[in-house]
Symmetry: D2
Subunit: 250 residues, 4 copies
């Protein structure tokens, strides 16, 4: 049974900081945000977790395998190396959106995202176990995106297609299943899901094909950590490629 | 009159590389992509340009102020420091989408994005001048996103709202005006535009409010470079904030 | 009793790579080297270890607390994100130089540092335990370096003084005690040591004062990991500052 | 005739920051320092300059080709992305040490390196021209360092040999010629020099062989920028390798 541990990473008081004393150079902000995300990806990733850039000032991570001490150290290290600090909220639930709801509430309870009084909150509960099906990861991509889009359209029109497909999928998966889907570059979307069936994944693919005219396929894996589940999902997606199928489970 | 210089940055043969000899750790790929983007942001940004992460394996930059030599050096430096290389296509036009169309075609003409034979293409024309209205940048954000979303909803539901607003805006601006709109984190979208009127920007804001139920406002600036135009746009957006208006020109 | 686990990190075939097909831009090489070191510092550091840049193409780490799996993952992650790979040799001994001797031999046994056939060696034994005095760290700095050098001399002459002091200390500590001393920036030197007495540290300080005319002081700590030992050493060095003493143990 | 433009980069009030409110994790400091240096290397390097890490809290750059605006932007960008700021002093002279002397005095005149009142000083004069022999760069390395040291000794003993050779060379070149020599990793030392003869370089090599028992060779180049001069020097050093000579001019 799924027990996803979700962490909300929120930069403290970031909006006001970006325009104080006057607006900062946009490319410096972009650099800061993407490097902070890269550091998160290394730290969380080499402990078996997954983190997604989401809105960059708010990032969402699946952190099964990381305990309180791991979160404290991440917070300390960011504080030592960046001009901003981060607050962290953690929640655990069978359904990812419920875990994130709890994680977010814990940070919100400590103050506004734009409060100068709130800094380096760390609040939450941590999942003790590591059962082999704690985490379910689905890795979607677009069928022949290179042939249909990248090599034929201008890059922005390729991007619009991918983006509309993503916008459709993220909404459907959240509303129908409480799953969290994240665009991770190229034509790839990775979703933290509850335990879903073949037909439920087919339903999502059909929905996006009808709603946004984008043909997806998906590999699904489970594991004790996001990396294990996601790695199995990648292999399952390779199976789709070779078999010509739309849904494969590891 | 607008003369936007657009550069397509495309990682060569990236898709196959990510799964050879077997799928690579997702968080390493995320780190690689976001750091490559950060390096682009620094290099292009401190020469007055703007770059957007788009799909990460394909990035779009507005590069007025960067000549052929600047592009060559960027390509060489990436090749020296990353396990991947990049191809660059450049185009110039009054309408951003036309410039990008040209830029993309030049890279596509040299081979597929997934061809192992194509590497480090550099093709295109460069804009010689630097007239004060060469570049138009519009900086959108969401009215009171912190109060309405970040401090009230869980982070994924906040993100869905921002994302649906973005998906609506990007499509409208491209189809109506040939403008290129990019989500840049938080509740911010930056668009490279042709010369548009107050009413045309109001039309976009109205469209997104009706289509996605997201209330945007926008500051608009122009300049010889994206940084100049974008910096003016940021100040205009601050004016919106203080005046309570929805569209301001620098 | 000290049981230091030392890891040699050696970039595979780096020398030839830097000049193939022709010499690469020096500042790109500097960027690559220092970012690789920074990644090592984060990875090893947030697991309680210490790494020193040494010659950059060869780095030395004290890795008590990191097991074989941690080393494998570090190697994999570098290979996924850099145009070069690293070999790792590990040794354990009461005396740091002996541990490093073993670590180095294991890498050397697999082939030359400039062999194109050798790649991603991982060889060594790992220290199972974590006794509270496994690691001894000494943190040296120069008495009033800012007043005597930085604020008075040109930067290169300040640097010469610090550097001559370091060259003297590193040689003395290695020859007398088998300790490994590393310059870590500013006026700071951190040494991995066997269990040494107050008089032995005074002997080192006296030697450098006489040999290079540089006045050092030192804080010493011990712990199960380099971070614990080094953090205690930093506090002991603060004690020297407040007490006006030259040697303090945590 | 040489006209070297030297820039001192000094982190403002860094020493106190590293221990406030208590000592910060050493590996976070190492990460911060080496990434700041890497950013300098990219920024200065892709404008044709060279920067050396020196003591990390103080870095020395040869910046022919970078004007006041380039320096201002570097300072702004660091301030936007790091928890520390930098002061910059600039000087121009035929003899590198004289240029650095001037550069350093300008920063010192504005306050102590450990003053909390001094921040983001930018002081100096900039070299207007770009004559083809403005900058002289010498690139030294150790003859067969891999065969003699890296593949035979433990890494620390290899490092001691290289380091003692460097300590000897840096002192000799500064005292005899006002040249600034920097260890850049591996067995490489790069020096910013006045216009020196073949015999003067032979004199330096002989001195180090006698003083530290390390056998160096050197390639020398000149150019309008450090990159041009240094690139020529690298090629000249390759000539030494093929010809078996000890001193080659480009």
């Amino acid at each position: 049974m799924t027990a996803a541990q979700l962490t909300l990473v929120q930069i403290d008081n970031y909006g006001p900081w970006t325009v104080t004393p006057e607006p900062r150079r946009e490319m410096d902000l972009q650099t800061l945000q993407s490097r902070l995300f890269a550091d998160m990806a290394q730290y969380i990733g080499n402990r078996g977790g997954y983190v997604f850039f989401t809105r960059f000032d708010n990032m969402v991570a699946v952190t099964n395998g990381l305990d309180r001490r791991d979160h404290e150290l991440l917070q300390e290290s960011v504080g030592n190396r960046y001009p901003v600090t981060v607050s962290l909220g953690v929640g655990v639930d069978e359904v990812p959106i419920e875990a994130l709801e709890t994680a977010t509430e814990r940070v919100q309870a400590a103050g506004s995202a734009q409060s100068s009084d709130r800094s380096e909150v760390l609040a939450g509960e941590f999942h003790g176990g590591d059962a082999a099906d704690d985490v379910h990861i689905a890795h979607f991509d677009v069928n022949d995106a290179t042939g249909k889009y990248t090599d034929r359209l201008n890059e922005f029109d390729s991007f619009i297609n991918i983006e509309q497909g993503y916008a459709s999928l993220m909404k459907y998966m959240r509303e129908e299943h409480g799953a969290l889907s994240f665009f991770v570059g190229g034509d790839n979307v990775i979703a933290a899901c509850p335990d879903l069936s073949h037909d439920e994944y087919m339903g999502a693919i059909d929905h996006v094909a009808a709603d946004a005219d984008v043909q997806l396929k998906v590999g699904v894996g489970s594991g004790a950590t996001p990396h294990e589940a996601g790695f199995a999902a990648k292999h399952a997606l390779e199976d789709c490629r070779y078999e010509g199928t739309l849904v494969e489970f590891a």
